[in-house]
Amino acid sequence: MISHHLLTLLVFLPSLGALLILAVRKSDALARLVALGFAVAELVLSGYFFTLDTVHTLYPAPAGFFQYENVHWIDFFGIRYTLGMDGISLLMVALTAFITVIGVGVSWQGIKERVPLHFALLLLMESGILGVFLALDLFLFYLFWEVMLIPMFFLIGIWGHGRRIYSAVKFFLYTFLGSLLMLVAIITIFLMHGAQSGTYSFALVDLIGTKVPYDVGLWLFAAFLLAFAIKFPLFPLHTWLPDAHTDAPTAGSVILASLLLKTGAYGLVRFGYPLFPDAARAFTPLIYAAAVFGISYGAWIAFAQKDMKRLVAYSSVSHMGFVALGIAAWSPIALSGAILQMVNHGVTTGALFALVGMLDERTHSREIDTYGGVWGKVPALSFFFLLFCMASAGLPGLNNFVGEFLVLIGTFKVAPLPAGFAFLGMVLTLVYTVRLVQEILFGKERKPLVMHDLSLREGGILAVLAVGAVYLGVSPSPLLELVKGPVALLVGVK
């Protein structure tokens, strides 16, 4: 019985953990343990899906999906509770489960007030994100898409720094406004499909067959693109990101950068392009432009930052540009590269935010000016700092290199000009990374710093992330194998 509802279990297990934490909210220590327990259980469960390679489902699944659930829900509108997992979702699910464990780990000691609520929100967040990565009914997808915002709003607003309330509200309103028009587009395509086929359904597999008039399609795709581009974030819709990332608590920044941004990219791959292939083709030059400009602009602005967290935040804008580039090219290699790059960016940027958080916990400063000569004081921390900076800069042998390389190759075949500009942007990435490493690790000590090196917990978190980064860099082929089938199906659609 339960084996047919594994996906439901996967999505709601963290929520269950959150409820349990709220039930034992009297004890901070117990809340931490429960949170870690559920996060690890979730990771194990998501790992179990890697062993299920055959189609294993009660319900007839569309091609490419090896796990599928399809239950009637709100018959009045033809809304069904449809969850499905293919290779792409599996990667995203595994990333989500992995990063949530990291998120629980980094806030183990940094969060001292209202501890149970914090961990409960982290787990609720995980449920929402997993729902986004697994929903195949547009209504259900939209529901999870919005649900995701609430825990993050609280995380930034309650435990954040600086202008936390401003940033939390800005984050919420920006994304909320952007996605409401998507709701209108969803309703429109639902009605169009119903009028054409006579059956009213929000299921992605049904709606893909809708014949959308070209000019209407442009509007609908624009509405989807707006919602996704804000989350992505594509230049010039990125302005919420530096505030939210900088003011969020460490776990919030890690989850924002590693997971929330991916939902935008995932939405474009899963829903935007397949639903409106013609309109997507028409918008492709615009996405190329936004991607290429974002790569250079993000790197350029990152270079000028004084606050480490802001620097990493702007570097996200730059890195996600590569993902956008790969999606816009929509060729098998480029798209595989983009999906891989989503995972890579999740691991690398998550690690960098965790590191900045650790430095901040020690010195209560995120200003680059404060630091200098850290290499001599805390060698273990510095080692990881250097490693992840190099990964972020795209050093061969580490994870980001593979993704960016595949994206560039794939795009170059289809569109040489954007690929060329993106390559130039990569050079800029090197500039700000080297500056960061040089000033913090190797420069002269500017103020007397009293720091202790990594604790066992911190070392463990970073080591796990480092293993991930090296593994993804050295042997990406199993992952590429995993997305090969779904990507072929997606690109074939066009």
Binding site: W73, I74, D75, F76, F77, R114, Y142, L143, E146, V147, L149, I150, F153, F154, G157, I158, R164, I165, A168, V169, F172, L173, F176, L177, L180, L181, L183, V184, I187, T188, L191
Partner: protein, 463 residues
């Protein structure tokens, strides 16, 4: 009049006789017992209404327990009962004594139950005005606060003018069609008189529903009225006024003459209501402007003139009742000797009174239309019916104004959880308040996630 007729109008008897009993026995019973009696009468009426089969044949002239009544009577009864549960502790703290309070609530509930049962224009009008009559008293019932009396007077003055317009409109429709039957309202053969009649009725209803430009009384009355009364006013009387329009329209599409004024009312209410709410620092005034905007959404669904649109109006009526009762109930339950009026007085309350603040936050999230709450489901249905009915431009304007509205609803949440406490923490809540809050919160979540049953029933309400 047969036994079956009596049985079918049992909710009216229960609430009507209940009100009289409360008045008669009130002086001899303990205060708690009086409220219990009133709650029992309301609950019994609601349960009976939900279970007894509906029929279109009139039980007594002018009254039939129609499917619409079977849908709305339980909603009104829930609103009435929850209001009573919130009021008991609140009235204790605010020294609002006497049995006239529960009796008037029950009388208002009685009138609300009559309204959807009406089969002719006269009953309909009498029911609508009886509801208003009960609220004239309830709004002004707090003798210790001048604002309450002021609000009562304002409501009375505006209400009297609105009643005059409505009455005149109904008499014009009678003059134009020669009949008091509900179906006569859409008999446009005598075009000039009928149009004038409908114009008058729309002016009256715009006041009742607080649609811009008939909204001016709303913020002052909400602010002045005791919080539980404001909650009842914003749910029961609004849903009743929407039902009034639905009954007049039947399930027919509004005539083309009505489209333009309804379009304007909806547009202005959605945009101005939400924009004005942005600037409020008094939580009840904010909820008043939010109410104006929500009635604008309701009108948007109404003016499509489709079955889906009418179903959306009815569903939204139920959902809006749950949301606003939760919001005003939490405000009432968090009040001490005085209500917490300014937003700042809610700072940090999320931690000193987690349950009540949680319900208030949930109500705000629902009012903002964020899933998985019922507020999202209701807005989804409204905008769905609007897009389907061809009102795409107005739907997009509505959706954008709804997105803006998230800002002022979130402000309350921000104060509850993200700002340091400024006032003394609230006293513990009474069991009645907690139970009522739990019920309204449960309704918000359950309708949000499993709206199926309600939607199916709606299918049978509209012929």
């Amino acid at each position: 009049m047969s036994v079956a007729d009596v049985l079918s109008v049992m909710p009216l008897i229960l609430t009507g006789v209940g009100a009289l009993l409360v008045l008669l026995l009130g002086p001899f019973l303990q205060r708690g017992l009086v409220y219990c009696l009133a709650v029992a009468a309301g609950t019994a009426a609601g349960v009976w209404g939900a279970l007894y089969p509906a029929s279109y044949t009139p039980a007594i002239p002018g009254i039939s327990f129609s499917p619409l009544a079977r849908y709305l009577v339980p909603i009104f009864c829930i609103a009435g009962v929850l209001t009573l549960l919130y009021s008991h502790g609140y009235n204790d703290r605010h020294r609002i004594e006497g049995e006239e309070y529960p009796a008037t609530v029950l009388f208002g509930l009685f009138a609300m139950c009559v309204l959807p049962c009406a089969t002719n224009l006269l009953t309909l009008f009498l029911a609508l005005e009886s509801i208003a009559f009960a609220f004239y008293i309830l709004v002004a019932i707090d003798l210790n606060r001048a604002e309450s009396g002021e609000a009562g007077l304002k409501y009375l003055l505006f209400g009297a003018v609105a009643a005059a317009f409505t009455a005149f409109g109904i008499s014009l429709i009678f003059a134009g069609s020669g009949s008091l039957e509900l179906s006569a309202a859409l008999d446009f053969r005598n075009r000039a008189i009928m149009s004038a009649g409908w114009g008058m009725i729309l002016i009256g209803i715009a006041f009742k529903l607080s649609l811009v430009p008939g909204h001016l009384w709303t913020p002052d009355v909400y602010q002045g009225a005791p919080a539980p009364v404001a909650g009842f006013l914003s749910t029961g009387s609004k849903v009743a006024a929407a039902a009034f329009l639905l009954l007049l329209l039947g399930v027919a599409a509004p005539a083309r003459e009505l489209h333009v004024p309804l379009f304007a009312l909806s547009l202005l209410s959605m945009v101005l209501g939400n924009l004005a709410a942005l600037r409020q620092n008094n939580i009840k005034r904010m909820l008043a402007y939010s109410s104006i905007a929500h009635m604008g959404y309701l009108t948007l669904a109404l003016l499509t003139g489709t079955r889906d649109g009418y179903a959306a109006v009815l569903l939204y009526g139920a959902i809006y009742t749950a949301m606003n009762l939760a919001a005003f109930g939490a405000i009432a339950a968090l009040s001490g000797d005085e209500e917490r009026a300014r937003m700042e007085e809610y700072s940090g309350v999320g931690y000193s009174a987690p349950f009540r603040a949680g319900v208030l936050a949930l109500a705000m999230i629902a009012l903002a239309g964020i899933p998985p709450t019922a507020g999202f489901m209701g807005k989804f249905f409204i905008f769905y019916s609007a897009v389907k009915g061809g009102e795409i431009a107005l739907a997009i304007i509505g959706i954008i104004s709804a997105a803006i509205s998230a800002y002022f609803y979130l402000r309350v949440v921000v104060h509850l959880y993200m700002r340091p406490a400024e006032t003394t923490p609230p006293q513990p809540a009474s069991p009645a308040e907690s139970a009522a809050l739990f019920l309204s919160a449960a309704a918000i979540v359950v309708i949000g996630v499993f709206p199926n049953a309600l939607l199916h029933y709606l299918g049978t309400v509209l012929r």
